[in-house]
């Protein structure tokens, strides 16, 4: 195949936000008539790269060439005028307007100072025909399926002059047949000569549709590959930022000892999950957890780890299956009932779902215990201070005092405060969703040490991390997830980073 000139080439793009280097000399090329997937874990820089291209952000250095000419879009509108069309993750259409109105919102054809409805309908039908869609465009949008709404969203941004189409997670709320319908449209647009950037967390879909893959990791360019030359296993390795050979097959000694302990049939079962599932979130799964065991949940971003944890802790209501705590059926309908049953849960989203920045460290720590005790069994301020000080000491939380605002603490210390909140309730099951994300290396090690300590004291811990290394290091058993399905459980000698990767890459 001859190397033609790319439609788009982004060269050595760097973008710095206060405190983070979101992109560091990233290269990206896009050719005519191809679907190009951008892959990467959390914080890889996918969305920043797209935002630079679509004029939401401007790069600090580096250049963008569109058909050989340098461009620097300073707004989404400017990018669109250049022929760069974007469909964002959340469909931002108006469900109560007609399909035609949605397509032409803000640029309705005008005739004699009034909207020309006939012309608008005619042109809407024409655009949709390009997407192989023949529907009544005067019907309101919400009367159609999500898949059709997704196509309408594409129709809305697609102009005759469009050169590049960016699809950000277009399939996240579609079922299989709907995905196929969408892919058909994507392929036909590609064959017309459009260059398409496709962002998704679904590995299988990437292999179905993408011609080329660019991998990013922590804001850095890892590589650009033709899909057929990149086995799934290599892709996963690259997303995690290592070469395949670097992954350790070793089983850690300490961990093996523990896995033997957990194989001990006498160890009491603290949590049993049977056939728990929620449509559109995670496929039904079984799970069990013993006293003193660390169960790791491993999978790529968007594989369903968090969804699993949220179902168990009653944040999202399951539509099937049951949960047993210590062998007894537990009706878990809310985080409150999960807490009463003896569970604790630290969310991965510390800022929005965890810490109360305006409350003091003391209040942050005491909150769950107080909620467990109920309103009237008030923990006196003196007792609160006692508990908080003890936690601050045992978890080595760096704060001037228990009465400082939690917002003044560093990320790692806020994470410890959240942990302390649940430890204060002395749970029998503790679910930790990415407790090591976004904190410095020292704090990461401390938190992993702590997890092992807790399990030694008999607590059952479910540990989620996108770093396979961490999961392997801490867990005595690992449940592996891929594309919202629990695909396997690894234990004993089978636990290693490499085996997790093989499990994720395996299957169809």
């Amino acid at each position: 195949m001859t190397e033609e000139i790319p439609v788009l080439s982004m060269k050595r793009i760097t973008k710095v936000f206060p405190g983070v280097k979101a992109l560091s000399t990233v290269d990206f090329r896009l050719f005519k008539s191809e679907v190009h997937a951008i892959m990467g874990q959390n914080g890889a820089g996918k969305s920043t790269l797209v935002k630079v291209l679509t004029g939401v952000h401007q790069q600090d250095s580096g250049e963008i060439l569109l058909e050989g000419r340098p461009i620097r879009p300073d707004s989404p509108l400017a990018a669109r005028k250049l022929g760069i069309s974007t469909v964002y993750q959340e469909i931002n259409l108006c469900p109560n307007l007609s399909v035609a109105e949605n397509i032409f919102a803000g640029r309705q054809p005008i005739r004699f100072g009034r909207i020309d409805w006939k012309e608008m309908a005619r042109r809407s039908e024409e655009i949709l025909k390009r997407l192989n869609l023949v529907i009544d465009v005067t019907q309101i949008l919400s009367s159609y399926s999500i898949a059709i709404q997704q196509l309408v969203a594409i129709a809305r941004v697609l102009d005759i002059s469009s050169k590049i189409l960016i699809l950000d997670e277009p399939t996240s709320s579609l079922d299989e047949t709907e995905v196929e319908q969408l892919f058909k449209v994507i392929r036909s647009l590609r064959n017309e000569g459009l260059a398409i950037i496709f962002i998704t967390h679904f590995l299988d879909q990437t292999y179905q549709i993408a011609d080329r893959i660019t991998v990013l990791k922590n804001g850095e360019f890892v590589g650009e590959f033709r899909t057929e030359t990149l086995p799934k296993l290599d892709l996963i390795a690259k997303m995690l930022g290592k070469e395949l050979s670097e992954f350790s097959y070793a089983v850690e000694k300490d961990q093996r000892k523990r896995s033997l302990a957990s194989a001990d049939k006498d160890a009491k079962n603290v949590l049993t999950v049977k056939d728990l599932g929620l449509r559109g979130s995670i496929a039904p799964f079984d799970l069990h957890l013993s006293e003193g065991e660390v169960l790791g949940l491993a999978g790529l971003l968007g594989s369903g780890r968090t969804e699993m944890a949220r179902l168990i802790f009653g944040i999202d209501g399951a539509n099937q299956g049951e949960i047993q705590v210590k062998g007894k059926k537990a009706a878990i309908k809310s985080p409150q009932s999960a807490m009463m049953a003896g569970m604790g849960f630290c969310s991965e989203d510390r800022k929005n779902e965890g810490i109360f920045l305006d409350l003091t460290v003391r209040e942050n720590i005491i909150l769950a215990l107080q909620a467990k005790n109920g309103i009237f069994k008030y923990i006196t301020t003196r007792k609160q201070l006692e508990i908080a000080d003890e936690m601050i000491k045992s978890l080595a939380i760096m704060t001037p005092s228990a009465n400082n605002r939690a917002g003044q603490l560093s990320g790692g210390n806020q994470q410890k405060v959240m942990l302390a909140r649940w430890l204060a309730t002395s749970p029998i099951i503790l679910i930790l969703d990415e407790p090591t994300r976004g904190i410095d290396v020292g704090a990461k090690l401390e938190i992993m040490e702590l997890i092992l300590d807790l399990s030694r004291q008999g607590m059952g811990v479910i540990f989620i991390s996108s770093e396979f290394e961490e999961v392997v290091r801490c867990s005595s058993r690992i449940a592996v997830l891929r594309d919202k399905v629990k695909v396997a459980e690894l234990d004993g000698e089978n636990i290693s980073e490499a085996s997790i990767m093989h499990t994720i890459a395996g299957g169809n």
Partner: protein, 340 residues
């Protein structure tokens, strides 16, 4: 004892300063403003009037504080005042000889129950139906006056039962009776929120409802009871309003009180974004509003123009409370000193 440092850090300082400045202004410019007289063993004077007339807004602001702390708002309280007045009036009856239809205690309790139910309705809409607070309480804001009219058969009902007048017109130990009611409700609410976990839960829900739910707090229950309590406070205020004028007027009782109550809370230092709340601050806020009103009238400003003056003072107080504004002003002064 309260140290200067803790006072400076607490949010009650600025409202107190604003109130102090207002009173100081009156000291110099309004003759006899501070004069207190004793007539028939009761205290009389502008200061007493401020306390007495401010009682309904103070009560409303106590309930409103908790609602606003959850990042909500209750605009129905003015209408609920009318509902309370209508309910108690119809149960006592307009007998010219002064004989109540039902015992006064029964009538008052029934009226309070009706208002509590009104609060529960708001709480249900906000916490279960998940309606936006301003829309949810807009329903009773509109319907409340209709309900009050329904009670009184669309008439203004005059009351002649003397013992009911004690509530809004009576004196105990030389001070107006309704002051004691306010003091009791304030103290009760303070103890109930600060000597139990309720206050912390309310603040947690106001700061971050998702995190509160994930911490095992039943955020829905908190919301429900906060609106219910606001309804009860409005009910008590309604009884006082009715007793003060011995009349139930569905159209005008409590009209625009909701705005004063919200204002009092904001003046008192509680943010409309929810979170930390200050009950005593709100009551001081209500006193500022009442003092302002009294001052304006004492100056003979025409009633039609009074709101303009009021708005200006409120604007100034709000600016004074803004940390950002204060630091900007401070910076201007520092720069001047540096250049001098």
């Amino acid at each position: 004892m309260i140290s200067w440092k803790s006072l400076r850090r607490s949010n009650i300082l600025w409202p107190l300063i604003a109130l102090g400045v207002l009173l100081l202004f009156n000291l110099f410019f309004t003759p006899h403003f501070f004069r207190l007289e004793i007539k028939e063993g009761h205290l009389f004077g502008n200061l007493i009037d401020i306390l007495k007339n401010g009682a309904p807004i103070m009560l409303l602001s106590i309930g409103m504080t908790l609602v606003i702390a959850t990042h909500g708002i209750d605009i129905s309280v003015g209408s609920v005042v009318a509902v309370s007045a209508g309910a108690v009036a119809i149960l006592i009856g307009g007998d010219l000889a002064g004989n109540p239809k039902y015992p006064i205690a029964v009538a008052m309790i029934a009226a309070l129950l009706v208002c509590t139910a009104a609060g529960m309705w708001n709480g249900m809409l906000v916490s279960r139906v998940r309606m936006q607070p301003i829309i949810a309480t807009l329903i009773l804001f509109v319907a409340g006056r209709g309900i009050a009219m329904l009670f009184t058969n669309s008439l203004q009902l005059w009351l002649y039962v003397k013992s009911f007048a004690i509530l809004g017109q009576g004196y105990v130990l030389g001070l107006p009776f309704d002051i004691y009611i306010v003091a009791f409700v304030l103290l009760f609410t303070y103890l109930f929120t600060r000597r139990t976990a309720v206050g912390m839960f309310i603040e947690a829900v106001g700061i971050n409802p998702t995190a509160a739910r994930l911490s095992g707090i039943n955020a829905n229950n908190i919301l429900f009871w906060v609106y219910t309590f606001s309804g009860l406070c409005a009910g008590i205020a309604g009884l006082i309003v009715c007793s003060t004028v011995m009349n139930a007027d569905g159209n005008n009782a409590g009209r625009l009180f909701e705005l004063d109550a919200i204002l009092a809370v904001v003046l008192g230092g509680t943010s409309l974004n929810g979170g930390k709340f200050y009950l005593f601050g709100s009551v001081v806020g209500a006193l500022i509003i009442q003092t302002l009103t009294t001052t304006i009238y004492a100056f003979g400003v025409p009633a039609d123009v009074a709101p303009v003056v009021k708005a200006f003072v409120v604007w100034a107080v709000c600016l004074l409370q803004s940390q950002r504004f204060r630091s900007r002003i401070a910076r201007v002064f520092v720069r001047r000193e540096a250049s001098a």
